[in-house]
Every structure is written in structure tokens, then in C-alpha cells.
Amino acid sequence: MPKLTLEELEKIREEARKSIFIREQGQFKAKIIVHMGTCGIAAGARNIMNAFLREVEKRGITDVLLTTSGCAGLCSREPMATVELAGQAPVKYVDLTEKKAQEIFEKHVLGGQIVTAYALGIGSEKTDL
């Protein structure tokens, strides 16, 4: 059995962190919410979610939070996702495909540029009146 060196220990730490970071209540740079109500799931939201998940995994990113929520109320435009960069208003994307999801991840989540072509609008409905 080869001995573990200091460098290898750090490498293990780095690699292991990539799989467990979601357990910690840390600061996330961005949050992606895939809407997974019955309508969303029927329209293929699961594939969209997996597309985002693959992007996170592929790039070994530890500060993007991927989560799901229920129906967003606009069932005809599913699958939908909301991207929220820290300190910015959330942006809703509609009629998604895996390819669009990839593009949104690259340009908006990582690059900070809203992909207006797929966006429905900025902001959320009021919840307290």
C-alpha cells in the first residue's frame, strides 16, 4: 500500500468536498430551481434537472445549488427553471431543453449574463400583501 503524502491528502479532500458540499449551509454563488410539479415532470423536467446536474458534476463546481420546487403556475411553458444569482433578482426560463439548460448554465449561472432568448421575465410574484 503506497503511503499517503500531504499532497495526496489535499487531493482527496478537494475531491471529497465536491460530493458533500451540498450538505453544508454555506454561501452559494447561484441557485438553480427546476420546477417539478406534475406538469413539469410530464414535460421533461427530470431531463433538464439531470442536464444541470451533469454540468455541476463535470465542472466540479461547489458553489452552485441545484434544487427543485413544485409547479410555477405556467404549465403550458414547462419545463421551467429559475436561476438566482446571489444578491440578484431571480430569472425564470421557459420551454427548456437539455441544450438550452447547458447554455443557461454556461452563460447565466457561470457568466452572469441572462439568456434573454429563453427568459420569461425577471422577479417573482408578490407573496405578502
Partner: protein, 608 residues
Amino acid sequence: MAVAKEKLYRLHLMVCAGTGCVSNHAFEIKEALEKEIKRQGLENEVKVVTTGCNGFCERGPLMVVQPGNIFYQTLTVKDVPYLVEEHLLKGRPVKKLMYQPPEEKTPVPVLSEINFFKKQVLVALRNRGLIDPEKIEDYIARDGYKALAKALTQMTSEEIIKEITTSGLRGRGGAGFPTGLKWQLVRNSPSPNGDKYLVCNGDEGDPGAFMDRSILEADPHSVIEGMLIGAKAIGATQGFIYVRNEYPLAVKRILIALDQARQFGLLGHDILGTGFDFDIRVVRGAGAFVCGEETALLASIEGRLGEPRPRPPYPAEKGLWGKPTCINNVETWANVPVIIDRGGKWFASIGTATSKGTKVFSLVGKINNTGLVEVPMGITLREIIYDIGGGIPGGKKFKAVQTGGPSGGCIPAEKIDLPIDYESLTEAGSMMGSGGMVVMDEDTCMVDVARYFLSFTQDESCGKCTPCREGTKAMLDILTRITEGKGTEEDLTLLEELAHTVKEASLCGLGKTAPNPVLTTLRYFRHEYITHIKDKKCPAHVCRQLNVYSIDPQLCLEKGHGCDVCRRNCASEAIIGAKGEAHKIDQTKCIKCGVCYDVCNFGAVRVD
């Protein structure tokens, strides 16, 4: 060494697999979750992780969904399909499985918003609920073995000891000896052939205490890393973890952790390529309370009878096989890596002037939120019992809290604003001990409590020295007499005299502290002893021999219509009356077992 790549999952379900939740079927719930996740086709998105004790044992089995920190409680296998479909598939957290505080109308979804967790500060339990204790990679990801790397490559032994001294860390096993000073003493002690040993005391024997068990179960690597750092500081080459065999899960997980550490080369020869050698062996104790005493523990490791011996010489000079030995308890070791990683000054910034850092307590007894809590030193009893513990069940009045296990003392309700540290507890007649905290309400008889704890220590007395062997027996006889209504006022004088003698003259900590419950209850609840002796009454109706049971004929007839349940259940045939008539107790036949009182559904049986 090749670095394994872990698959990324969208959700981690952190299922508590501490002993408490496991005995509530946590593993069955885990299996059901995995099955259901597969059935819903989510096995590539959701991962089920078993963790150590989460602490909120009262509400087990527990599960936390990450990310989101959504806290589910009192789960059953039946809840699993709905939970998986709603939360995991459709993204709708399930309200009915969340924790709802007794006084609130809506559940609290997020763990960190729940009062039980809010005031806690996690140092020794830093990884609780966040890692799989059987995976070394999880520990490493949470900065595990980082302090070891620092200690081995950037620090001298003196610097390590200095850092621990700066931190103000004191032994978490009971006596509160400064850890840095102990390490210095062992380091300075000469050893003819160079051998020095290091021991982790995991012989947690206090009834109602499970701090050390939880740490060993939830985060075994934190103890191993602490010991490795200690070994470098004092120059030890072999360590021992002494753990009770009654802790099967703790034993299993520490053995797995040791194997993994060896595989990774974090134990054994030339650790991290620094030329430092150290290994650890597990020794299982057979469950004798006295073996928690350091000299008895060392004798037990050597294969001799687990009996204490006079000190000095202290183990720091002559310990295992006559060699200098450093012995600290589980929680103390678990604190060490954080101190080295974050610095002694940081640790010393938490706590009070003389007691630094945090302390883990197991909160049990008459308390709403039974569980394991870690709080900064200096926190008041009120904060622990009411804010974290959620107060006393059934709206009953808080009467006292026993700290420090069977050899600690009872602190009365008047002292509820006492800040917790080593000195304040000792001053109040109790002690920190290893951190057991038994809460008592108005229905508790303090004489009976003293008798109960003394019966434990008397039973566990090894019998080597006369004051402890004979003294605790004589004290127990007196207490039993008082609870049976046969006590006299002279008994109290004798009891106090005996208590002081046993405390003074006993050989080891067991005898020296065994009289504490008696002395503190005499100090704070003397009136209860007097009532038992003079009035032959037990105000809390706990001492059954002093109770007089009677049946209210009116209630029995009007409400219960002479239901006859009491008569049928009376083993001594002391109840007279036919069905439909008011019943009566024949006091000459009554053996005061209290069964009639327990079975009457109409409150017709009275106890005076």
C-alpha cells in the same frame, strides 16, 4: 494513492444512525428509502447517507434533507413512499413529518430554525449529521486530518503543547485537569526505553450519559486525529482506545475508522511521509463503572483486575506497564484537531474565564427535548433546560437537575440561572463530570433520588478500600430506612458524617464523589428528609411504603359505577366491594404497590 471520484447527487438524505435512532428502526427506514427511491427512478439523483447521532434523540428516527436543511422527525417506514413522492420527486417538503414545537401552530421546516439546535455551538460535534462515520473521505472533506498534517509538518511538540495550553482546554471526563499541562507532564516524564503511551478513555458509565458514545459513533476519526496529534506532542508510539463493550455500534465504527486510517497511511509507520510512527488498539471494557477511573482503566488494559490504586504516582509518571501514560477522555480528544486547526486563541474566546470552549451534555429525565447538546461554557441552566430542552413535560414545575452523573450533585430550581462551568458547579456541590444532565420535576422525591444514585455507586464500588465499600453500604441502608418511614433524626447526622468520611477517605474518584447526591440533597432539600422522618410522608408520593391508598366512595360509585377494575388487579386481595358498589381498601392487607391507583380510570383512588 489514487483519488476516487465520487458521483454527484442532487439530494443527500442524512439519516441519523446513532444508537437512539437505530433502536427506533433507522436502518429499516434507510432500506425503505432506498427501495422507494429506486422505484421512483431517482437512484441517480438522490443519495441516502447514514450519519451519527443528530442530538435530537427525543424526536427520532430523524432525517435531514440537504441541501435545504429540511428536518424530518418521528419517521416510520410507512411514511417513506409519500415522503419520496412528495419531497424528492415533486419538490414539495412534507409538513406533517416536520417538527412542530408544542406551543406553536405551524411546523418548523429548517433544522437551524428549531430552538433545540439554535443555541448550540458545535466544536466536538462539528461533523454531526454531516458525515458518514464509516467513510474517511467524508471526514477528510470536512477538514479532517488537516490539523494532523499541520502538527506533523509545521509544529514542534512544544508548539503543539503550547497551543493546547493557550486554548485552556480542560479534561472533559470529569475532573477538568488542564490538558496542556497533562501533556507537558507526560512529555517531561523520563521513560527508560523511550516507550510512552496514550489512552482514550471511552468507558462512559454514568446512567443517562451518552456523549462519548455519540462522538465515537458519529465522528470516530476526530478522536483518532486528536490522539495522533497528542502522540506527536508527548512522544508516544502506541495508543489505546478503551471503550465499553456495551457500545457495539461505537466499537464497530471505531474499528472501521482505524482500518481506514491504516489503509490511508494515517496510522502506522512514516505517517504522511514525516517519519512519525503511531498506532492505536481498541480495548473493550466489560462494563465495570470503576474502570472509568484512570488507574483502574490502566489495570484493565494490562489485563489485571479493574481496581484503582493510590496516586501518586500519577499515570503521567507511571502508567501502563510502568511507563508515562497520557489519558484523556473521548470528548477531550475530539476537541484537539479543531484547536490545532483554528488556534488555541480561537478556542479560548469561547466560554468563561476558567472554563474554555464548549461542553457536550446529554439532556435526559423530565425534559421535553431529550438529546445531546453542545453549548458554550458559561451558558445558564435555564437556557439549557428551557430554550434548548423545551422545558418540563406536562407543564410541571422544574425541581432540580442532577449534573455529573451518579457521583454529581442535585442543583435546585433556585439556582437555575447558574452559569455552567467547572468552578460554579463544584461550588454548588455538584460537578461537571462527563456531562450527564438529569432533569427532575415536582413529582420527583429527592430522598429517593439520592437513594437511587447511591445504590448505583454502591453496586459499582469495587470493594478495594473500606470507606467506599462499607461507607456507601451503610449510607444506602440509612437512606432505604428513611424511604420506608423507619428513619430517625439521628440518622441524618450519621448520614452526613458518613458522607464526609467516605468523601475524605476513599481511594479513588468513585468513593470520593459517591456521597455528592446525598450531600447536595441534604443541603438543598433537607425539609424533604425531615418530612419523611417526622411525618412519615413522601411529599412526591414516590416512596410507596409511606403512601396511604384509599378510595373515594362517592367518585367510585358515581363516576366509575363500582367498575371493579381495582379489585381484580389487586394482588394482595386488599380491596373489598362487589361490582356496582363503592370499593374500599383494607389497610391491614394493602402492600402499597400502587396498582389500584394506576388502573383507576376515574381518579377515585387517592394517595396521601
